[in-house]
Amino acid sequence: MKEEMNRETDGELNEDRPKKKGFFARLRDSLSRTRANLAGAFTRYDRIDEDFWEELEETMILGDIGVQATDRLMTQLRGEVKERHITEPAQCRELLISDIREKMTVDGHAYDFENGPSVVLVIGVNGVGKTTSIGKLAGSYRARGKKVLIAAADTFRAAAGEQLAEWAARAGVDMIGGAEGSDPGSVLFDALQAARSRGTDILLCDTAGRLHNKKNLMEELHKLDRIIGREYPEAMRENLVVLDGTTGQNALSQAREFNEVTDLTGIILTKMDGTAKGGIAIAVQSELGIPVKFIGIGEKMEDLQRFRPDEYVDALFDRPADTDNTEQNEEGADGQAQSEER
């Protein structure tokens, strides 16, 4: 069953990409600091005592997993350790890994929307990488032969439309936009009509970045959400919130608030290519139950991938499950800064 799923996912987002291992290797790199810390906690101790627990807690918090999620994981772990009479830090580690993996597992139907027709609304606070993520998604769907349309409903930020147009051109997909300052709702409306009449598989909607505590902007988002439901009720819906991997506990609050105005179906976790520790993904999943569906790990078109809990957790804890240490082509040279910024 598990193998079947793996094959299926391999065949999708990654099939146009021979360097699958490279992605994993780089995810591991980017998580290396958390990993080193956690590994430290596991190897430095030869028995499970209070010092061990304390350090484990600290390292998890340092990895941005968050106080509450850490508490929950620790309580669960302590219970299991006691119940099963575990005395070895190594065994304890296996338990923690499986606990986290269990929490992070993505539902089998999570990507059904990719078969279309579907409308994907991409939302988030300013500067997390919405526009860039849409560009990358468009590129990968296009490469898989899907009919993709982009709606440039960020009519607020200066030059947001131009930025997206460039991504659309790179991906080779059409884009529907409006003038700066025009009503995002009308752009979306036009795009929905177009998607419908053209028989588009996936309509990707960019939105203006907004802080989640701005009532009127959140209201506007709610309106966009309603427009989609009203104008294209037969389409599958996907509401993805984009979270910056370097954001701390505020990411939770972001996910929570956006979930209030639009029913979130998933998370795109971006900027995992820095030294971001990515623990926030665990916090969000465990506290809100919204699955991470995509993860952005680099600046190139193919650097947005489906989120794989197994790989993520393995990378986090450095399990030698995959022998992927083969070095990849140097990527640094053409590292272009294309991320959205406001």
Binding site: Q68, N126, E162, T246, G332, G335, A337
Partner: protein, 462 residues
């Protein structure tokens, strides 16, 4: 409100400590455990938290509770002192070269921190101070980054220098400097490409720019929502690019903003400005001491006063004074209502103002539902549909007139009735308040009572 939730947490903790004469070790331990958790939840870096709680604990244990303070307050005082020590107590200013010499400011930071927007905000801010800034677009990588700077530059009225396509950032920087010198600009703001701190090529680019032109101030732009990572970001940029100061962005979100504390603690570099909103005028001087008191729930009254002062021109100040005196006498009319709405908008809306008042922050979530800018504009439409005579004298409003107003403003007659009734009640209330409290005419808060009270006009459930 950046630090609101943290203040509340500390308040809760210290409630338990009340009513004791001397702080015992176990009291302090219990409090510090909570302080530690609260700070960690606020994204203050772990190392910083450790250091901080240690020094507070050391000072707190065995200290006699000062006269007039309860034990909780005593701990709060120590926490506040240490926090202020950590954040610094004086606000820092960017230093400029004298006369027409061009001060070069380089903005750097991670992708999405808000460099381009902040560069334009900074230019606007400096123009207010009489500088003539030139913006230079050095982000040649991100699609449309140059365009974004050009559009924002135009909005604030600052000239933008863009290099020839294909130019290297360091070359554009020297060209921009030459251009600035020739065209009598005395500040040059370099907007560099966003980068991941681990990206060597990009870090090298920063030092190349610094070699090409003499940079007076290298400013690191940091997202206030950054997590534990903030420390590494600040340290790496400091090592590789040598930063002189920090600008904190997106502080108008609900982040607790622990990053501010972390960055200051590990780099020792001052935070110059804070980005507080979507508008290009929303860049504020950063006051570390105010930030520290904000952590302890004292609200940011000083920032509010500043904001009110800078936004209020002389003319409207007189109006404000007049209004304040009329409010005191209960003769507040619809014209005053319109005027106060206008002032409020200028200052960034109701929520932004209320958020800065002490004690208000705690109820931020309640207010959220009540103060809805959209509803406010609906009531504004009602007022705008009145004749000047009606606006000046609410008593004129007969049912016929109300009917006309309802039609004119696109509202239901019931809405108009409700609004007028509430207005009436508010007027009475203000009269009572005016009798109770002496308004200090001329102080910005003279008018604030009126504005604050008006919040409830936004409440009618349409």
């Amino acid at each position: 409100m950046a630090f609101d939730s943290l203040s509340q947490k500390l308040n809760d903790i210290f409630k338990r400590l009340r009513g004791k004469g001397r702080l015992t070790e176990s009291d302090v331990d219990a409090a510090m455990k909570e302080v530690r958790m609260a700070l960690l939840e606020a994204d203050v870096n772990f190392r910083v938290v450790k250091q901080f709680t240690a020094s507070v604990k050391e000072r707190a244990i065995g200290s006699d509770v000062m006269d007039g303070l309860n034990p909780g307050q005593q701990v709060i005082k120590i926490v506040d002192d240490e926090l202020t020590k950590l954040m610094g107590s004086e606000s820092a200013e960017i230093s400029f070269l004298p006369g027409q010499a061009v001060t070069v400011i380089m903005m750097c930071g991670l992708q999405g921190a808000g460099k381009t927007t902040t560069a334009a905000k900074l230019a606007a801010n400096l123009m207010k101070k009489g500088k003539t800034p030139l913006l230079a677009a050095l982000d040649v990588y991100r699609p449309a980054a140059v365009k974004q700077l050009q559009v924002n530059g135009e909005k604030v009225g600052a000239e933008v220098f863009a290099g020839a396509p294909g130019s290297v950032p360091a070359v554009i920087a020297s060209e921009a400097l030459a251009y600035a010198q020739k065209n009598h600009k005395n500040v040059l703001i370099l907007d560099t490409a966003g980068r991941l701190q681990i990206d060597d090529a990009m870090m090298t680019e920063l030092s190349d720019i610094k070699k090409a032109v003499e940079v007076q101030e290298t400013l690191l732009v940091v997202d206030a929502m950054t997590g534990q990572e903030a420390v590494n970001v600040a340290e790496t940029f400091n090592e590789r690019a040598g930063i002189d100061g920090v600008i904190l962005t997106k502080l108008d979100g609900d982040t607790r903003g622990g990053a501010a504390l972390s960055i200051k603690a590990v780099t020792g570099k001052p935070i110059f400005y804070a980005g507080m909103g979507e508008k290009l005028s929303d860049l504020e001087q950063f006051y570390p001491d105010r930030m520290a008191s904000r952590i302890l729930g004292m609200g940011d009254v000083l920032t509010l006063i500043d904001k009110v002062q800078s936004e209020m021109d002389a003319e409207s100040e007189t109006k404000q004074k007049e209004m304040a005196s009329r409010v005191g006498k209960g003769r507040f009319d619809f014209n005053d209502y319109l005027e106060s709405m206008k002032q409020m908008r200028k200052m960034g809306g109701m929520q932004s103002i209320l958020g800065m008042l002490p004690g208000m922050g705690i109820k931020a979530s309640d207010l959220e539902g009540q103060i809805d800018e959209k509803k406010l504009s609906k009531t504004e439409a009602i007022v705008l549909s009145m004749t000047p005579a009606e606006r000046a004298d609410p008593k004129l409003l007969t049912p016929q007139r109300k009917y006309r107003i309802a039609k004119g403003s696109g509202n239901d007659i019931a809405d108009v009735n409700r609004f007028v009734k509430q207005f009436d009640q508010m007027q009475k209330m203000m009269k009572q308040m005016g009798g109770m409290k002496k308004h200090k005419h001329g102080s910005p808060f003279g008018g604030m009572g009126g504005i604050g009270g008006l919040g409830s006009f936004g409440a009618p459930k349409f």
